[in-house]
């Protein structure tokens, strides 16, 4: 029992143990609620909700009417859970920080590559997130919703997606890091 408690308090688990936990969560999601662990879809549901309220004309298209209908869906609830789950994870390992300015950019590797400015990190995170969400819309899911949830049902789409993701991820990392790769 003490061993388990101590393990929970550890900052970084073995990825295999954490992977088993996620695998069990994936099984339970299908078993208990007949749905997959999608994360990126929730953002589109919320974006659709906001968009329909702000400019209904612009959002009156096939994508937001049929493929990603706006509304407070299962995925949105899941995303809220992910947020608090991540916080609980950080709290149990004692790395949860409140409102510290440098805690937004405490990654040593990031600072070495892009410089110490925090605003740079915000800008890059914002731009990168737009790219991510757009790509997830094209592919029909993100790492969790397509690669992991689709992969565990042996959907061909998931493995095509993983192949594309790693091909361009490696290339992008090569371009960013160049001789430091």
């Amino acid at each position: 029992m003490k061993f388990i408690l101590n393990y929970i308090r550890k900052d970084t688990w073995s990825p295999y143990v954490a992977g088993i936990l996620l695998g069990v969560v994936g099984i339970l999601a299908v078993w208990l609620s007949d749905s997959l662990l999608g994360a990126s879809g929730a953002f589109e549901n919320i974006a659709g909700m906001i968009g329909k309220a702000v400019s209904p004309k612009l959002f009156d298209n096939v994508y937001f009417n049929f493929i990603m209908p706006p509304g407070f869906t299962y995925g949105v609830m899941l995303l809220i859970g992910v947020f608090f789950g991540g916080m609980i994870g950080a709290a149990t390992s004692g790395t949860l920080k409140w409102g510290k300015k440098d805690s937004a950019n405490s990654d040593e590797q990031w600072k070495r590559i892009f410089g110490p400015q925090t605003w740079k990190r915000w800008v890059l995170a914002f731009v990168g997130a737009i790219i991510l969400e757009y790509a997830a819309g094209i592919a029909g899911g993100c790492t969790s919703g397509l690669a992991i949830s689709g992969g565990m049902l042996l959907a061909p789409a998931a493995f095509l997606f993983i192949a594309g993701m790693f091909a361009s991820g490696i290339l992008t990392a090569l371009i960013i890091y160049r001789e430091r790769y």
Binding site: K10, T12, W13, P15, Y16, A18, G19, I20, L21, L22, G23, V24, V25, G26, I27, L28, A29, V30, W31, S33, D34, L36, L37, I80, G81, V82, F83, F84, G85, G86, M87, I88, D107, Q109, G128, A129, I131, L132, A135, A136, I138, T143, G145, I148, G151, M152, L153, A155, P156, A157, A158, F161, A163, G164, M165, F166, S168, G169, T172, A173
Partner: protein
């Protein structure tokens, strides 16, 4: 309603496992593309293997039916994956 409560709990465990595997950190995500830290792949593949063997076993026992599997449209999936990789290596999502 019950479904939403389940979603909240499953999401919490999902976030918890991501946090504990270190996937909420920029360097973990980027280093998998530099082949210096394979935690992301180890985590993803373990989750995949556990979930797929569990799901197929449960389906074999007749306890569950599969939800709609993500649609395959080759060009969309690959192009989406290619763009996704750029964003992933940039932000460390």
């Amino acid at each position: 309603m019950a479904n939403f409560v389940i979603a909240l709990f499953l999401g919490a465990f999902f976030g918890f496992s991501l946090n504990k595997a270190g996937l909420t950190k920029y360097n973990k995500i980027v280093n998998v593309f530099r082949f210096t830290d394979m935690a992301v792949l180890q985590f993803m593949m373990t989750a995949l293997v556990v979930a797929m063997s569990g799901l197929y076993a449960l389906r074999g026992l007749g306890l569950i039916t599969f939800p709609n599997i993500p649609a395959t449209y080759v060009v969309g999936n690959i192009v989406g994956g290619l763009i996704f990789g750029v964003g992933m290596a940039l932000t460390g999502y």
